[in-house]
Each structure stands twice: as C-alpha cells, then as structure tokens.
Symmetry: C2
Subunit: 418 residues, 2 copies
Amino acid sequence: MIAEILSTGDEIRTGTLVDTNSAYIAQELEGMGVRVLRHLTVGDDLTELAAVLQEIGSRADIAVVTGGLGPTSDDLSAEAAASAAGVPLVLDPEALRRIEGFFDRIGRPMGDNNRKQALLPESAVRIDNPIGSAPGFHLLIGKCRCFFLPGVPLEMKRMLRESVLPTIDTLLGSGARPIRIVTTLSSFGYGESMTAEKLTGFDEAFPDIRLGYRAKFPEVQIKLYLEGTDRLKLEARSLEAAGWVKERLGGRVFSDRGESMPEVIGRLLVERGATLAVAESCTGGLISHWITNVAGSSRYFLSAAVTYANEAKCRLLGVSPEILLRHGAVSEPVIREMAEGVRRMSGANFGLATSGIAGPDGGTPEKPVGLVWIGVSTQENGTSARSFQFRYANREANKQMFAMTALEMLRRTLCQNS
Amino acid sequence: MIAEILSTGDEIRTGTLVDTNSAYIAQELEGMGVRVLRHLTVGDDLTELAAVLQEIGSRADIAVVTGGLGPTSDDLSAEAAASAAGVPLVLDPEALRRIEGFFDRIGRPMGDNNRKQALLPESAVRIDNPIGSAPGFHLLIGKCRCFFLPGVPLEMKRMLRESVLPTIDTLLGSGARPIRIVTTLSSFGYGESMTAEKLTGFDEAFPDIRLGYRAKFPEVQIKLYLEGTDRLKLEARSLEAAGWVKERLGGRVFSDRGESMPEVIGRLLVERGATLAVAESCTGGLISHWITNVAGSSRYFLSAAVTYANEAKCRLLGVSPEILLRHGAVSEPVIREMAEGVRRMSGANFGLATSGIAGPDGGTPEKPVGLVWIGVSTQENGTSARSFQFRYANREANKQMFAMTALEMLRRTLCQNS
C-alpha cells in the first residue's frame, strides 16, 4: 500500500513555517507497514491544490493532507477536495452542531465564517475534531482514499491517532502483513564515507537487509531495515548483521539500541555505581551540557569546572601554576593535573578533562587550531592522557569533535574497568 | 519565475528526520522575488527520483534539490539527474582534485567511494563545496535549471548563498530590478503567536513592508522585507518600522543586526571591559557552551562551575550548607549565594547563576518541574534574583528556556550598568 503526504498553506510554501507534520505522519504510516512514496507541499491556491490532489489520486492508495480547514478565505482544502473528486460541497449538519458545541465549550461566540467549516464534499466521511473547531474528513479521489486533517499539530496528531490510523488499519486488512524491524547502530570515529567503505560487502553478505546511513555530526548512525513475517527469525538475522557491522567498525559502535553517547556513558556509570566530574577548557561546557541532557544524570554527574582562564585551572582544579607556565595549558602535564584534580576535589570515581584550541584564533605552529589533550582519571587505574589533532575550520565543529572524543575515551575506560 | 524545491532521502521520506532545508530555501527564493510553487520529498529510489525530476522539469523554471550527493550507495542524485536529463555521468577532474584536497585538509584518508562524488552529469556545471566533500552542480532538465546541493544544512546554506542565489540572480536578469532590504530583529520573551498578536496593526501602519516570523526556539526572529528603488529611503523606512516593532515588544528585541544572544552578551561585556563567571545547576553547562561558542569569548569569560551535586555548590561556590539545607537548592537564598560566590571566587565583574528543576522528574507541588531561580551578581550594584515558572514537558526545552532567560536577565543588567 502506497501513501503520499500533502501539507498545504502559504506559510509552509514560503518557508515561514517548517513543516513538522509530514515527518510525524510518515513515521506513523511507515511504522504500520505503509510505504510513503512522496511528501508534497503547496500553498493556498485552489487550482494548484485541486491539481495536486488529482495527481495523488492517480498514484497513491492513501494520502494524508494537512491544513486548509480553517474558517478564513485562504482555507481551501474542502473546496479543492470536492473539485478533485467531482462532487459538490454540502452542509454536514452534525459537523455544524459540533462546531457550535466547540464554541459553547470555550465560551467564545462562533463567527459566521466558522459555518463554512461544516461544508464538506458530498462523498466525504466526517472525522470529528475533539479539541478544535475544524472537522476533518476522508473521501476517495481517483483510486486514493484521502484523509484531510487540520494543520495544527496537536489537533492533527490526535485525529490521526484516534481516527485515521485505525481506518487505515482496517483498509490494510488483517491478512499476512509484513513485520518491519529497524536496528540502529550508533558509531563514532569514522565519517560517513569511511563507514560505508568499511561496510563494503554488506549487501552481498546480507542481501535481505537494507542498509542506511545517517550522519548526525559527529556520530554516524547505521540502520538495518528488515522485513518479513517471522519476528524471531528477523531478530536473529538483525543480530547477526549487527555483529558483522560491529566487527568491521572495530569497536567504534557505541550503541546498538539507539542511545546517544551521553546516554551510554550514563548507563555505564550507573551499572558500575560510579560518579563523574568534568574539567572543561576548550569544550566550554558542552560535555556537561550533553551529560545533563540525560534525565536522571544527577545520579552520577557531580560537577564540572569550565576553566577558561588559567587562574581558574589552578583555583578550581589544583593545577600547579609552575607546570601551567612551563608547559602551557594545552599539554600533557596540565591535562593530567586537570583530570586528577577534578576527580580528587569532587570526590568522583572518574575525572574527565579537555584542553585544546577550538579556534578560529589562538593556534601556533607547535599547537595549531584543532589540537586537543584529553585526560581520564580513575580511582583505581591511574590517569591516562592522549592528544588528537582535528582539522575543522569551524569552532563549533571542533568543540563537538573534542567533546565526543573525550566521551569516547571515557567510554572505553569504563568498558575496560568493568 | 516559478521554483520548486525537492528534498531527497529515506530519512526524510520515512519521517526519521524533519526537513528544515526546504523552508530555508523557500524563504531565500521568495525573498528575492522567485515564486515557490511546490516542495516535494522522495526517498533514495533511482526510478522515483528521476521521474520526479522530469515532472519538475516540465513545470518549473528553477529547482533546488538537496541530498543524495554523498559517497554511499544510497546517494543517487547525480545518477538520477543524468538519467532525467538524458546524459551520461562523467568524471569531473577538478571536482576530484577538490575532494582530494578536502581530505588532505582534514587529515583523513579519502575513501575509494568518494571518487564517485566527482561523477557529474555530462551537461552539469559544478558548484564547489567550500566546507565538505560533496560537490554540487546545476543542469537543465526539461525547461528547468536544477541546482543540486548536499543535504547537510551547513554546507547547503553556504553553497546556496555563495553560488546558487547569485546564479539565480543572473537568470532573473539585470533589468530595473528593485532593491531588497531585509532587517532581522531577534526577540526573546514572547512565543511566535503572542509576538504576532502584539504586532497586530503593522500591516496597516506599514503597508509597504512585508512582515515575516521565524521561530528559532527559544527566540523568535521578526523579519522586515522592503522593496523599492531608493536605498536610503528604504533604510529610513526600515528603521522606522523596527522602532515600531521594538516599542510593541517592550524591550524584548535584543538585537537588530542578526546577533545571537551570546554574541550580544559578549559585545556588551567587551564594551564595558568586564568579565563574567557562571554557576550552573539546572542548565548543566549550556550557558557556558553558548558563551564559548562565540569566537574570542576568552576575553571576557573566566570560568563556570557546573554544580549538580549540593556538595559542589558549597565547595566551588561557597554556598553555606545550612542555607542549602534550610531552603533547598532551588531557592532565592541559595541562588544569591551561588551568583555572589562565583563572582567573588573567580574575580569576575559579573556572576550569573541558575538553579531549577528541568525535569522530567524531581518536581514537588511547591517546586514543580519548570521552576528556575536566576541570580545576577554585580560588583557595583549588588545581586538580584528572580524566579520563573515554565511549563514545557521536555527537559531540553526547559534547559534552553532557563539558559536564555538567564542570559536575558544578564543582558538587561548590563544595559542598566552602562
């Protein structure tokens, strides 16, 4: 079964508003085994809207249309649907009663133009709107069952869930529907193209699995799409393919359950009953921000010191002024003192520290922009430090790369110390 | 001149990713007087992609296509473009040289499959990518000049601005083209619909100016589009309208030159020769991250203490354990001690502190999720503290709202202390 999604309205057409409805609808449809072929957007133009509906009617089996059901003169969806289906608009008395009831409930007078919202294409089936004034409807245009919903996300989502999806489910019938499984492997360390190269041969080894990539800088997600009728078999096959990918990427896959890197760090710390403190120079608070985005992070995250000024490194982390002066802030001796200092002074089990040059200024021939030192200090196995050199022109990209590399170094330490 | 916008990729088709590129491109095109007729989305499917390109080629004069230029097997845009235009793919030696140069610059080996990115349709004109590996290109399909850009927003925007829009400008012809001026007012404090309501009457007062909104949560940008032939007159008129908007929004406009809030804070601190230190509890490092995203922030940003644990509030900020125990971390006495403590201990001129409940857990009837205390401590005018209650369900939204509100409070203090 093929679906298309149409969003309408000049605000979306001209880009004043980003259309988030279509992505939501696509996820719901794909999740129930309906293949979404296209999304379309057109403005508040009767001719164009009717033309697009007829095109969709010749291509798709079902369509979900959002927007254009309001009371104003640029709300044209019902008229366009009637025109595309070749039927007149007629007053739906029950729709009118419900619109009147809505205004009663919110205690506002109903405008004359709200009456227009009860005019539906003659062949349409009404979809009640439990939280707004605009009723939806569905009807056949060409070979396509078209569902019309309001553009307001809250109303659209409720009506989609409560009315549209159950109706589509009935249309799909109860026959042998394929089961779909998607496995997400999150990796860090290779870019998208290097990842793809490392996975050359996947299609031959697993011709029954579709492979997808998504670069969420600085991580790369690998997606495995499986389809079949036997869930247990699909899951076993997915596990096999995930193992193949992990081996090819040599430890760079940090989650096979869709977790973010900070979520993995949090899980590992909780599993070990351990706590963390962070000392950030060049990452400027980004590591702490990521870690505290995870709900429940207060269980393992004690504190961070963002020590931009050298004086702060000494005062908050106990870095020795002599060592700072002799080696500079971006150096192995200083990063070791930062990692150890933040762990010791906070009483945490693990200390993580960064010091580097995010740019665009501040680089020297010996210590160029993109250089970062990272230190991980543990209670039981001492402190390790490593430097990395990145070559991004962009300050924010450097910060993200530094922060992700630091978390990856901590993750590997946590996995060794288990 | 009629334009269409096509975004490609299974991630967008299936709704895993919300397409923000199309709205951006639509705004830019409409802003230069090109009418956008439709947006379309299709997945990584060669046949479907080529079919859509041919349809667009029969309808539009120009098209901007995003995505599908990467190195992997599901990157199919060049192949589809060649097929739709009826030309072969050929190696572009200069594109290859530039891809090699890119990998040289970032210090990573170039994969074999990156070579594929240098294969362009025979009739195509290359569009260089200054910050990524994927070159773009444009060519004629049917009657339509189609511009192909990467899907990565940063690369897309840069190539659109530097190459595509100037080319379209040339296509539009050099006749007596009107001058266009766009003024961006960045505001914080009202949502998009409240902002629009406050600006009711603008169209009557300034019928010659088009008003646009862009919600960049948690800020709202107000755009004023002017068109005419006399630049000085347009600029004066724009200034007048900007003043009208600022008055209606009562001090909530924080920049009329496109700055971000952290950039405004940085500028104000530099102008005053002052320094800042931050104490973050519920914002977890986000304020520091934002501030250090600004190049040159080391001139005024000394340090931050992200004090999640209570013990850290006492140790790093000098908060009294008794006051913490008596009033709880989210309270006026504690936020005052945090703001004063971080200023005093760091030696900064200004101290900014946050303590609140970002959720989803940790709320109580007296201190519900969304409550935040913010403190600003100054050397000369003492310390002020205020609480705010937000009602977002989402932890990240709360963190962003808390951080922005704190920076806004600091901004107002800086403006008073000038």
